[in-house]
């Protein structure tokens, strides 16, 4: 687009063209920003997965240390057949 054609455009059109160009530049800027690694979000995600894998947030529902020797009354004997379901 040459200066000559730009001059022939009405004021409204020129303004609209400016807004369009501005919007494009800003959208491109936002895309650039979004490429940066979200470190805080990644830490949060890592913690949630580590909680699951290491069972760190079971509370009372999971025993802290499942000792194989300490048996509860209904525990089956080592030779017992597995219960059929």
């Amino acid at each position: 687009m040459t200066l000559k054609t730009l001059r022939t455009l009405s004021t409204n059109r020129r303004l609209m063209l400016g807004a369009l160009l501005g919007g494009t530049v800003m959208a491109a800027g936002c895309v650039t920003i979004n490429i940066y690694f979200p470190a805080a979000a990644a830490e949060k995600a890592a913690d949630r997965i580590i909680d699951e894998v290491w069972q760190l947030k079971g509370g009372a529902s999971t025993p802290p240390a499942p000792a194989p020797g300490a048996s509860t009354p209904p525990a089956p004997a080592p030779g017992a057949k597995p219960a059929e379901k």
Binding site: N12, L15, M16, G18, A19, G22, G23, M26, A27, C30, I33, N34, I35, F37, P38, A39, A41, A42, E43, K44, A45, A46, D47, R48, I49, I50, E52, V53, W54, Q55, L56
Partner: protein
């Protein structure tokens, strides 16, 4: 007219800003692929936990696990432990890759691995071994 364009422009800017903030608040980790890897690692942890406690296996800086003290593992069990470590590291690599892919940024894999590497160590139990910045093993 000038004002209208300016207002539209500002509205657009606000919307883009909000959308961007929302996108960065959380990483997507709820995919079937990630859940499957997580489940497999959770099962394996029952076998790995005693090895962390004994110091035979430690946490590396790069988000993996490694045999720290071969003498701490009886010869007969060494192959099994090595297999466990290899399987764990394979799952961890898949986990980091899957999270990066689930968030449409495969290039984040290395950053995700580094973040995990730090968090595994930060959240490890007292007595477990990890590698410090110089690569030396340290007891937590």
């Amino acid at each position: 007219m000038k004002h209208l364009i300016l207002k539209t422009f500002l509205l657009l800017a606000t919307l883009l800003g909000v959308g961007q903030a929302a996108a960065q608040a959380n990483l997507e980790i709820n995919t079937p692929g990630i859940a499957a890897i997580q489940g497999s690692m959770q099962k394996r942890h029952a076998e790995l936990a005693p090895l962390y406690t004994s110091g035979a296996v430690g946490l590396t800086r790069d988000g993996n696990v490694a045999l720290r003290d071969p003498a701490g593992v009886p010869l007969a069990q060494r192959a099994a432990v090595n297999g466990l470590i290899a399987a764990e590291n394979q799952d961890r690599a898949s986990l980091y890759r899957e999270i990066a892919r689930a968030n449409n940024h495969p290039e984040w894999e290395g950053d995700i691995r580094n973040t995990f590497g730090q968090r595994w160590i930060d959240r490890a139990q007292a007595g477990w071994y990890y590698q410090n910045a110089t690569g030396a093993w340290v007891r937590k």
